[in-house]
């Protein structure tokens, strides 16, 4: 645990010291700002809710989160510090977990930047605070799953841009795939695929429903990809 925290703190320090971190945050806040504007969430007469913003967020996060996590492990391989790190008494699981937590905390801080819209809604209207909080919980859990996938992508290469692509493209397809399911798939196949539909899980949170099913889904996805990441880091020793 001590090692995990040490690695997490160091990674956070690097994230905050690198320009990439700020570019990503600025990009995210800019895109959410544009979405708020385009969806006319603050237009007079509209219900005081950010739901239409949250509907777009998974697509944005599919691109943004891999940009946060792309450096985590790829950078260690690129500059060679993986050698000093894995010859110190640190297990591969501690290493991966530390990296993951740092990226997740960075994401949470970035997400907190959007709370300003909720604050404005509270000033100018009476939004459903419970549903908003459950939306944020959903986005945190979604971020947990996406970050795990991004860290996994980062462990596959030593090039940050490649890591970003490897993370963002499958995530985008996966989110879009949820939309396709709802549109075109029918029958028992639809029921099965709906279980892994990110948009459906997120929609439940947006409606103020925190279901065990959805929480378990996101946590399990995160756990699965973290496990794969540990295996990738282990296997790279043998090459």
């Amino acid at each position: 645990m001590r090692n995990t925290i040490a690695i997490m703190q160091r990674e956070l320090l690097s994230l905050f010291l690198s320009p990439i971190g700020y570019i990503v945050v600025a990009g995210f806040l800019l895109i959410t700002g544009v979405i708020v504007l385009v969806t006319e969430s603050f237009a007079p007469g509209r219900p005081a809710t950010l739901r239409s913003v949250f509907d777009f967020t998974p697509y944005v996060l599919a691109i943004i989160i891999p940009a946060i996590s792309m450096r985590t492990i790829a950078e260690e391989y690129r500059i060679g510090t993986i050698e000093t790190l894995t010859t110190a008494p640190v297990s591969d699981a501690q290493l991966v977990l530390g990296k993951y937590l740092a990226a997740l905390i960075f994401y949470a801080i970035m997400l907190a930047g959007t709370l300003v819209y909720l604050l404005l809604m509270l000033i100018f209207g009476r939004p459903d605070v419970g549903a908003s909080l459950s939306s944020y919980l959903g986005l945190l859990l979604l971020g947990g799953a996406f970050t795990a996938f991004g860290v996994f992508a980062s462990s596959l290469t030593r090039n940050q841009i490649v890591a970003w692509m490897l993370g963002a493209v499958p995530l985008l397809l996966f989110v879009w795939f949820g939309w396709i399911i709802v549109r075109y798939v029918q029958g028992p196949l639809r029921a099965a695929l709906q279980q892994v539909n990110i948009l459906r899980h997120l929609d439940q949170f947006n409606r103020g429903l925190v279901t065990a099913e959805s929480v378990v889904f996101f946590v399990a996805v995160a756990g699965f990809f973290l496990f794969l990441t540990v295996k990738v880091v282990e296997s790279r020793r043998w090459r």
């Binding site: 500059i79 510090t81 790190l85 894995t86 008494p89």
Partner: protein
């Protein structure tokens, strides 16, 4: 302290280390010498638990590098060849981070950082970002990191590569000092480097140990092929013939250079006195007489070149 038995490492079908065995006693300072690509770094990476070996076993400080990896890692201080560091961090931040990974609490870290910063002359740059430091300073940060937890075994991969001559001398004397408290294994492809710092040398080439021993022992093995160089004035043929008659001479080569005959004598013995008497008896003026003892450098080059020749021969015959 370090025990290596029949260690091999293959990268695919490429054999980087071919069944090597050696052992290093506590408090020894051993140089691992070989040309680039000889398998030094691979061996070191196996000993530091960065990579597993394909076959064979190795123990460091009594622990097996494969099955007791965490215990080995806590006993070893390691500086990789490229000295990888986080350039955005300050020196003290980096050392604190490394100290935490080593399980040192804050007061222990403060003490350890003070100690290694003084030893590695880093006190002035502790607050500087690593990215702004020169190569020499970064090397010292890497060394400070390796020393932080006062390890029993210190493994340094090419510790002086890329340093200027003054820094090389300083680093060498630091390594010699460190040997009082630590067992040191260092690698290098530069012989004088190893000769100056190490008590024992292990020469490795193409994944095999080709020679090992103290510098003196290695030198003794090669003085057998020493040569005698002389310059005399006289008839060339007569000089060659009379020298060839001397006891223990295996070969004589003469060359005429601005009126003087330059003679190179291959011999097992020290024939300087006989040669002087011969020249005096024939009243040939003598202006140079010296014994050319092969240096370790010659030996090293010969071993490496010899292995290289057999390698290319094998390659050529393979092509036919």
């Amino acid at each position: 302290m370090i025990e290596v038995r029949n260690l091999s490492k293959f990268y695919g079908s490429l054999c980087a280390v071919n069944s090597i065995s050696f052992s290093i006693r506590e408090g020894e300072i051993v140089g691992f010498l070989g040309p680039n690509g000889a398998g030094k770094t691979t061996t070191i990476r196996i000993l530091t638990c960065y990579q597993p070996a394909t076959s064979g076993s190795a123990t460091v400080a009594g622990y097996d590098v494969f099955t007791q990896s965490m215990l080995v890692r806590s006993q070893v201080g390691y500086m990789p060849e490229s000295v990888p560091l986080y350039h955005e961090m300050r020196v003290c931040e980096y050392l604190h981070f490394r100290g935490r990974l080593r399980g040192l609490d804050r007061p222990a870290r403060e003490r350890a950082i003070g100690r290694v910063a003084e030893r590695c002359w880093l006190t002035d740059v502790l607050r500087r970002p690593i990215g702004q430091l020169s190569k020499g300073y970064r090397q010292r940060v890497g060394l400070a990191d390796a020393l932080l937890h006062n390890p029993r075994v210190l493994i340094l991969d090419e510790p002086t590569i890329g340093l200027d001559p003054a820094q090389i001398r300083a680093t060498r004397s630091l390594i010699r000092e460190l040997a009082q408290d630590h067992t040191v294994l260092l690698s290098s492809h530069i012989l004088p480097e190893v000769e100056a710092t190490c008590q024992r040398i292990i020469i490795i080439n193409q994944g095999r140990i080709v020679a090992s021993g103290t510098p003196t022992e290695l030198r003794e093995r090669i003085t057998g092929t020493s040569r005698l160089i002389a310059e005399l004035k006289g008839p060339e043929g007569e000089i060659a013939a009379s020298i060839r008659k001397l006891d223990g001479v295996t070969d004589v080569q003469c060359r005429l250079r601005d009126g003087w005959v330059s003679v190179s004598v291959s011999t097992q013995r020290d024939l300087r006195e006989e040669l002087y008497r011969l020249a005096a008896a024939r009243s040939w003026p003598l202006r140079e007489l010296r014994r050319d003892i092969a240096t370790l450098e010659d030996f090293f080059v010969k071993i490496v070149a010899g292995a290289h020749e057999t390698h290319t021969e094998a390659g050529a015959s393979g092509e036919k």
